[in-house]
């Protein structure tokens, strides 16, 4: 028997399929016959991975609207040399969303410097993150298959250009459960001004049971929807009510029916969550120095810093997957610099540079970086040509995302784009490769993590991607 069967997914849903790693046919009911689904443990209880994991949890920083790679982490000296000139035909077709490459090349407004022992280059947009390059592995050759935000976002989140499949956070939670019983396993923190264009579908559990959904978490006294008791309901009063409820539930067979028992347990967990979750999101306990590091004292970094600090607190408490968005809602709060690239990227990087650096340093200092995979990414990058004279259109043909921690070897660069940053030309990496790599770092085999849905063994990477081994070996 393979590892990681999710016992508590009720046996009645197994028709639709539920198995992780068992790997054959629609046989789930046979597992149930073996008594596995009888256990009353939480479906989110931590499960053993398929093989030794490098990372235990993930913090995925998604930059909504798409930062430009050639202006951040993938320097292209030729860009400024050829600025104002037309794109040489030898680079192939320039497929943007609103432009066709007939506009001239736009130089980068920022200088690059080399940092760390590795001497890797980072632009002036990320001077704080730059100090951590020796912990960062840059993959400069990712590509997505759509030039439009939402479909490309879906691809980064679930491997398809559609919102029909579970997101990677849901898959990770399905495969591994969580270390924490008192918090949701998969937490989502969007930009307060609004969601990414892909909407809530970005963190959808798809056809997986709702227990694997991404739970929205907000700073403040009511971090999770319906967590807070109504004003008149004290904890003591609710406890009395629950005691009464559970006494009745025991009459309903909770002692010998695993499903009934699981439901009784879910109320106890909910009750505990009401005190644990506010504590988990309460930043008051953090030292002044930590708050300063994350930028909580400055207007422009306060929101993102607070969310990243929260992410660290959640990782400490065993939350499995944290999806956090820089950008969302109005165009002015996205990285989508079709015009005014300079002002836009300085603003957005200004929100995030310092907090991300603080997170990396903080995790490292606490010994958590080794087991926490931090991902910085987006739905695509931006074109070397100009739009509106001072902006850049979308570029899914080749762009940079980076990994830190979680067993990844820092100070590395994998893959390359062409001389102007238009196409990924070396070691091209698809989203399947991206997902296969994340699962691998979590100790999950992409081919053994599946769910039977409508007669098909659905997997995050579908027919499979190539694990980017150079990132960690």
């Amino acid at each position: 028997m393979e590892l990681g069967w999710n016992a508590q997914v009720s046996r009645r849903c197994v028709l639709r399929g539920a198995a992780n790693g068992f790997g054959a046919l629609a046989l789930q009911h046979l597992l149930v016959r073996g008594g596995l689904a009888k256990r009353a443990e939480s479906p989110l209880a931590a499960k053993a991975p398929h093989f030794a994991a490098r990372a235990k949890s993930v913090i995925f920083i998604f930059n909504v609207g798409a930062p430009s790679s050639m202006d951040t982490f993938d320097p292209k000296p030729a860009l400024n040399r050829l600025a104002g000139e037309p794109m040489p035909e030898s680079f192939g077709k320039v497929g943007g969303q609103f432009t066709d490459g007939s506009a001239p090349i736009l130089g980068t407004p920022w200088k690059f410097k080399r940092y760390g022992r590795s001497g890797l280059p980072v632009s002036e947009l990320f001077p704080h993150v730059a100090r951590h390059v020796d912990d960062i592995c840059f993959v400069r050759s990712f590509f997505t298959r759509s030039v439009v935000h939402a479909p490309a976002m879906y691809e980064v989140h679930n491997g398809r250009l559609f919102a029909t499949h579970p997101s990677i956070g849901a898959w990770a939670t399905y495969g591994l459960g969580a270390e924490s019983e008192n918090l949701p396993a998969y937490v989502v923190m969007p930009q307060p001004e609004g969601t990414p264009e892909g909407g809530t579908s970005c963190w959808s559990p798809g056809f997986l049971p709702s227990v694997y959904q991404g739970t929205l978490l907000r700073p403040g006294p009511n971090p999770i929807l319906d967590l807070k008791r109504p004003a008149a309901m004290s904890a003591g009063r609710q406890r009395r009510m629950l005691d009464f409820l559970q006494q009745m539930n025991r009459l309903d067979g909770a002692e010998y029916d695993s499903e009934m028992a699981a439901r009784v347990a879910s109320y106890e967990l909910a009750f505990r969550m009401q005190s644990h979750a506010p504590e988990a999101v309460d930043l008051a306990a953090e030292s002044a120095r930590v708050k300063r590091e994350y930028g909580l004292e400055q207007e422009r970094t306060r929101d993102f810093g607070a969310r990243l600090l929260l992410a660290r607190r959640l990782v400490e408490r065993g939350v499995r997957f944290i999806q956090i968005y820089s950008g969302g809602g109005p165009i002015s709060m996205q990285w989508d610099a079709h015009k005014h690239l300079k002002a836009n990227h300085e603003k957005m990087a200004g929100h995030t540079d310092r907090p991300i650096a603080a997170l990396l340093g903080d995790l490292k200092q606490r010994g958590l970086l080794d087991e926490t995979l931090v991902i910085w990414g987006a739905e695509f990058g931006r074109l070397p040509t100009s739009e509106s004279g001072n902006g850049r259109d979308h570029n899914p043909h080749g762009y940079t995302m980076w990994f830190a921690g979680g067993g990844v070897k820092g100070g590395r660069v994998i893959g390359a784009t062409d001389e102007l940053g238009l196409h990924a030309v070396e070691e091209r990496c698809s989203m399947r490769d991206f997902h296969a790599t994340i699962l691998h770092l979590l100790g999950l085999d992409q081919h053994r993590l599946w769910y039977l849905h409508n007669g098909r063994h659905e997997k995050l990477t579908d027919f499979g991607g190539a694990v980017i081994e150079k990132a960690f070996s």
Binding site: A24, V32, V148, D252, S266
Partner: protein, 736 residues
């Protein structure tokens, strides 16, 4: 080779059912590598023996003298149990049977009066009479619609980032309710949904039915979308729908390659898709000329009412829009400004391009304008926008139209697509039925019109081995908690063998013989003894733990919608009105904030003004693909992105939180407490009796009465808490 393809890691013997399946698979597997036509034929030959592709047999119920056997269904069930050395569980109590059959057939718990009518009826026909009442209830169709719309992946919006509202989709939803209520013959039901427009051209009801073809999600994106790609997506959705819903085969797997397990070649998939080649989703007018004229006049009057408020808003905004433009103009790069400053007639080509670009650059976003408006004016503007949105709620409903399909004059050619990619066209194919099933003498039709009609005729041919089996299996799963064939959307080789193939065929034959009557099959199932078994399992006594042989009833959690409806029934506030436009209930701030928009986010969820509408059955709530109501989503309401044959049922803490603290539960539990108070005053005995009647349709046991009285005597607030506890109880949210 097949076995390696399916990652068979497990060395243990997987059980008899699988062994049978493997025996069926092996000949196919051996031929799976078939390359040429002769091999293909051999391969089909090899797999034609698979049960689902064979004609429906005519099995007779096993002979038995057992007094337990009440109906033919029981004879089939008992035979298997006996062979396995098992005894059926004892019958369920009359009270529990009552609640079970209500929840199953109409999705609502019985009222105390309805309960009394049955419980006090001592005649031997009491239960049969009750079943007839329920089959005749207008709620019966609503109950079935919940199931059918899951399978059809129905929603009121397109899905994806734009998630456009389908303002006529609800008519398809209501059509489904009506069809089940009227016991519309299933063959006709299939024909209308696939091809109502072609087969019954003057029947509005049949036109509405074709909404089925476009019920799935539709990806409409901004920017330079590839039209051909979008078209291919629409066709894929339509084809997958037929496969999963009616055929019970995963034909969609053959979009990219020959099916790995079922005898569906990639070409079969595209031949099936070709039936839709001329079909477009389309709203089609069904209103009379008079109604259209009336509507036009109503819209004009409505627009007129909007004029003053729009004018006032413009008056406030205009100066600041200009100011915002000036500011942006001042920040333009010199060459852009120069182009703009040059009079239009003096601009050269380059300057014209620059000026065009510059105009785009200085056009302000809404928030750039609002930021400049002084606070006092801003407050006035906010009020005005509020008034505008209030007026917008009175927008006249659109003239009646069907969310339907329309045929093009010519059917574009259909090609096999390499790995499903529309850019890699291979050979041309014409509409044709999957080779493994044959045509049953139905002409596939080649002209643009009538292709779907052919497909529908073929599906409903009495000798079709799948259509009837698939539907009776759905009915069985719906009532008994698990399908005779385990996956109702997949009767193919990977779907698993049926536990009772003879029973499945017996029901399928009856289904057709009785005029494809869903009610007839429902009746046969719920009147059986097998349906009336107790669900309880004594500790450690279950030899058939997953209940494959239906030794006992399956206790299962109610669907999200049924929980919500049951709560409203208990609070006495359920609005039982049927049909009509979907209702927007209030949503939590946190949910509202997640609605994607780049525009001013102040009217993204116009709540239905009439509060009584908020208490309608859940079936009638707006099902917006990207705005899931947390209460329903937490209890595994499907996302309507793919067909859902059987819902998952997970148990987790977020459910408990919404059941304890959520606004809906708070409101309804207080109303429930108020209802009790109004009915009983402070009479504790009465409170306990009525609370049990209204939630569980039974009286309390002595232990339950003791617990309740002990709790209720703890103070004034206790009744509110008591009411909430009763609605949270396991028994309340489970089908008994």
């Amino acid at each position: 080779m097949l076995l390696s393809t399916i990652h068979w890691h497990n060395g243990t013997v997987p059980g008899a059912r699988i062994a049978v399946l493997f025996a069926a698979l092996l000949p196919f597997a051996a031929a799976a590598q078939a390359a040429d036509a002769a091999d293909q034929r051999r391969r089909l030959q090899a797999v034609r023996g698979f049960w689902a592709f064979q004609p429906i047999a005519d099995p007779q119920p096993p002979a038995t003298a057992s007094p337990w056997v009440r109906t033919p269904v029981d004879a089939f069930i008992l035979a298997k149990l006996t062979a396995a050395g098992l005894q059926p569980a004892p019958p369920v109590s009359k009270e529990k049977l009552l609640r079970r059959v209500y929840l199953d057939l109409i999705g609502l718990p019985p009222t105390p009066e309805e309960a009394a009518q049955f419980l006090d009826d001592r005649s031997p026909r009491a239960y049969a009479d009750l079943v007839e009442r329920l089959l005749a209830s207008p709620h019966y169709g609503e109950r079935w619609a919940l199931k059918w719309l899951d399978v059809a992946r129905y929603a009121d919006t397109d899905g994806f980032e734009r998630d456009g509202y389908r303002e006529h989709a609800w008519r398809y939803r209501d059509y489904v309710v009506r069809a089940f209520n009227a016991d519309k013959p299933y063959d006709r039901f299939v024909q209308e949904q696939l091809a109502g427009d072609e087969l019954f051209p003057h029947d509005v009801e049949a036109l509405i039915a074709t909404g089925f073809n476009g019920a799935g999600p539709r990806h409409i994106v901004g920017g330079n979308q590839d039209k051909e790609e979008s078209r291919q997506e629409v066709l894929s959705e339509m084809t997958a729908g037929v496969g999963q819903v009616f055929l019970g085969l995963t034909v969609q797997c053959a979009r990219c390659h020959d099916h790995k397990f079922d005898p569906i070649a990639q070409a079969d998939y595209y031949r099936l898709q070709a039936f839709f080649a001329a079909t477009d989703p389309a709203d089609r007018n069904t209103a009379s000329t008079d109604a259209l004229l009336q509507h036009e006049a109503a819209v004009k009057a409505y627009e007129k009412r909007l004029v003053p408020v729009r004018k006032q808003l413009k008056q406030i905004e205009e100066p600041y829009r200009e100011k915002a433009m000036e500011i942006k103009r001042a920040k333009l790069a010199p060459h852009f400004r120069a182009a703009l400053d040059t009079p239009e007639r003096d601009r050269g080509e380059e300057q014209r391009r620059l000026a065009e670009e510059a105009r785009k650059q200085i056009s302000p976003m809404w928030y750039e304008v609002v930021a400049l408006i002084p606070d006092e004016q801003k407050a006035r503007r906010r009020k005005l926008r509020g008034r505008m949105h209030a007026l917008e709620l009175e927008r006249p409903d659109p003239a009646a139209a069907a969310f339907a399909v329309a045929n093009r004059d010519e059917a574009p050619p259909t090609h096999v697509l390499k790995v499903g990619d529309y850019r890699h066209k291979q050979e041309l194919v014409a509409p044709a039925f999957p080779a493994v099933l044959g045509s049953f003498g139905v002409d596939a039709g080649q002209s643009a019109r009538g292709r779907r009609a052919s497909l529908a005729r073929w599906l409903t041919a009495p000798e079709h081995p799948l259509t009837a089996r698939v539907m009776v299996n759905r009915i069985w799963e719906f009532r008994m908690g698990s399908g005779l064939a385990p996956d109702p959307n997949n009767l193919g080789l990977l779907g698993g063998m049926p536990t009772h193939p003879e029973l499945l065929d017996f029901l399928a034959r009856k289904f057709i013989a009785l005029g494809w009557s869903v009610k007839a099959i429902d009746r046969m199932i719920v009147l059986s003894n097998a349906y009336r078994l107790a669900a309880e399992t004594a500790a450690g006594s279950d030899a058939d733990a997953d209940n494959e042989l239906y030794r006992r009833a399956n206790r299962r959690r109610l669907e999200a919608e049924t929980i919500r409806d049951s709560v409203l029934a208990a609070s006495g506030r359920l609005n039982r009105a049927a049909g009509g436009k979907p209702v927007r209930v209030p949503i939590e701030r946190e949910v509202y904030d997640l609605i994607f928009t780049e525009a001013e986010p102040d009217n993204l969820w116009p709540v239905t003004p009439d509060e009584a509408q908020h208490r309608r059955r859940s079936l009638y709530l707006l099902n917006r693909r990207t705005v899931r109501l947390p209460f329903l989503a937490n209890f595994d309401q499907p996302d309507a992105m793919t067909s859902c044959a059987v819902r998952s049922r997970s148990t987790h803490a977020l459910q408990a939180l919404s059941m304890l603290n959520g606004r809906f539960m708070q409101t309804e539990s207080r109303a429930f407490a108020e209802r009790l108070r109004a009915s009983c005053g402070s009479g504790v005995r009465c409170l306990v009796d009525r609370s049990y009647q209204w939630t569980l349709a039974r009286g309390p046991s002595s232990e339950e009465r003791r617990l309740a009285e002990e709790f209720l005597t703890g103070g004034q607030a206790r009744l509110d808490d008591y009411a909430l506890a009763m609605l949270n109880r396991n028994e309340f949210v489970y089908r008994p």
